[in-house]
């Protein structure tokens, strides 16, 4: 019996946090993973990755009404029909600074965890979330603001190594959930052929035939206009970085556009992503 995948979720005990938790529960049920819920007792914690230590300063709404937090979370998990597991930090760097390990398979984040709820909207991904995506070995699920079920998968393929990882992840999720998979590519300066070549180089042609419902290649119109074609009930999988010199410092330009225009759930694959298969 193989171990189930684990999704790390930090619970915010307010209506916004409820939406995020419901989204995580849905994701877990679809993928046969189990959520690990952390109810923070301090606003700060440290996440030690392989090559980086990220200090997360949570917005104080995360600590509201601690006495009801466990009951609320337990109720939601029970209703969702997933196993109930809470994360208790075992090591502390300082008395108010717990360590959180990073051997999870997924992590769910709202668009920002350090800022007030009022700041969370399209186009904004908080700096801490960005750092997590940058260092993590797992994909990060950025949930849409309201609970929304997804019935298909959409992968953005831009040809870079990061995008290939995103594509492979898409194949795996499609296989495990039996949901249709669409691939979207915006042909920019490079020709259509080079994307097909990229697929060939990675020996993914068979998988493309097997899993992909339709490969949408956009050649006309602006990128933003074409985003309308992405179904609104899709889980969008994409790589965080693209090509270019400064690729390790900022998110790719396409990625920024995507996250500021569509409100789907985003599963973002960072540069340090390692497939668990």
């Amino acid at each position: 019996m193989k171990m189930e995948a684990q999704l790390f979720h930090i619970f915010r005990n307010n209506p916004l946090g409820r939406e995020t938790l419901l989204q995580s529960i849905y994701f877990c049920k679809k993928l046969g993973a189990s959520p690990v819920v952390y109810i923070p007792k301090f606003t700060r914690f440290l996440m030690y990755f392989e090559n980086d230590v990220v200090q997360i300063d949570l917005d104080s709404s995360y600590l509201s009404s601690p006495d009801t937090a466990i009951t609320h979370a337990t109720d939601l998990l029970e209703q969702g029909g997933v196993s109930i597991r809470f994360f208790e930090p075992k090591h502390y760097t300082a008395t108010t600074l717990p360590d959180i390990h990073t051997n999870f398979d997924y992590m769910a984040c709202p668009r920002s965890i350090s800022d007030l709820s009022t700041k969370i909207g399209l186009g904004y991904i908080g700096p801490k979330v960005r750092r997590i995506v940058n260092s993590a070995r797992f994909p990060v699920l950025i949930t849409s603001p309201v609970y929304k079920e997804w019935h298909s998968i959409a992968v953005f393929f831009g040809g870079s190594a990061n995008a290939v990882n995103a594509l492979k992840l898409g194949f795996r999720i499609s296989r495990e959930t039996d949901l249709p998979l669409d691939v979207f590519t915006y042909v920019g300066k490079v020709s259509r052929k080079s994307y097909k070549q990229a697929i060939k180089d990675e020996n993914l042609e068979k998988e493309m035939d097997r899993f992909v419902n339709k490969w949408h290649i956009f050649e006309k119109g602006s990128f933003e206009e074409n985003l309308y074609k992405v179904p609104h009930t899709a889980l969008v999988i994409l790589g965080a970085y693209g090509h270019g010199l400064i690729k390790n410092f900022v998110f790719g330009s396409k990625m920024e556009k995507i996250q500021s225009i569509i409100s789907n759930n985003l599963l973002i694959v960072g540069p340090n992503y390692v497939a668990t298969q």
Binding site: E50, N165, V274, A275
Partner: protein, 229 residues
């Protein structure tokens, strides 16, 4: 050399998590290059032996020889042959005649085999009752590179074999196997067949070679079915 992390873990006989951790901690001379792992085979080999670890890099070339599967009664009996009206008045002479029949061995080996079969009989009788005996050498022939075989000898007349139930023996199964494993395997299967009275009665009819093999195949099918759980 470039390998995936799974292949590296397999070659080092270590769990995946351990190898990944050692690469991150810098304790093993392997470098991460994106999602590939690069190392120098000679250096890694040296490192492994210095640290008491086995290292078996996947070889490019012909596939490794698979371990030979355990043979079953059917092929063993077929290979050994079935003989009828084997003459002899006592254990020794019967064995001598029986051994002569085995034409896969040369004369020297036959003499060797005969001596060992006799030695084994002198220890305890291989007559396991109901008129069946299973002579076999106590230790295996030195040229161990042969396939197992069972020579079936139906005797001309039943002889005293000092068997467990003191009944005279009418059929001998001479068992010759290259390893303990195949010996035990064939012995247990044969014993399973003999335990069934109907099989012994069938033997008493001195069946032809084909009929015998068919019957054996039947029994083996039964055995295979119970082995699945």
């Amino acid at each position: 050399m470039k390998l995936t992390i799974h292949e590296i873990a397999q070659s080092l006989y270590l769990p995946l998590g351990t190898v990944r951790r050692w690469i991150r901690q810098g304790r093993i001379p392997i470098h991460k290059n994106g999602s590939d792992f690069v190392f120098n085979e000679a250096i890694l080999s040296k490192w492994a032996s210095a640290h008491n670890l086995a290292f078996a890099p996947p070889k490019k070339g012909p596939e490794k020889q698979q371990d030979p599967e355990l043979e079953n009664l059917f092929s063993a009996i077929k290979r050994g042959g079935v003989f009828y009206d084997v003459k002899g008045d006592d254990v020794a002479s019967t064995l001598k005649v029986a051994v002569e029949n085995i034409n896969v061995l040369n004369n020297h080996s036959k003499e060797n085999l005969y001596q060992r079969l006799l030695e084994r009989e002198n220890l305890t009788s291989t007559g396991i009752g109901k008129g069946v005996a299973i002579p076999h050498p106590r230790s295996f022939l030195s040229d161990a590179d042969y396939r197992p075989f069972i020579t079936t000898c139906f005797l001309e007349k039943p002889i005293e074999f000092a068997a467990l139930d003191n009944k005279p023996v009418f059929v001998m199964f001479i068992l010759l196997c290259p390893s303990v494993k195949s010996h035990l395997h064939l012995l247990s299967r044969l014993a399973f067949c003999i335990r069934d009275d109907s099989f012994v009665d069938f033997l008493k009819t001195f069946p032809s070679s084909d009929k015998l093999l068919l019957k054996i195949a039947d029994f083996e099918e039964q055995l295979d079915r119970t082995d699945q759980y």
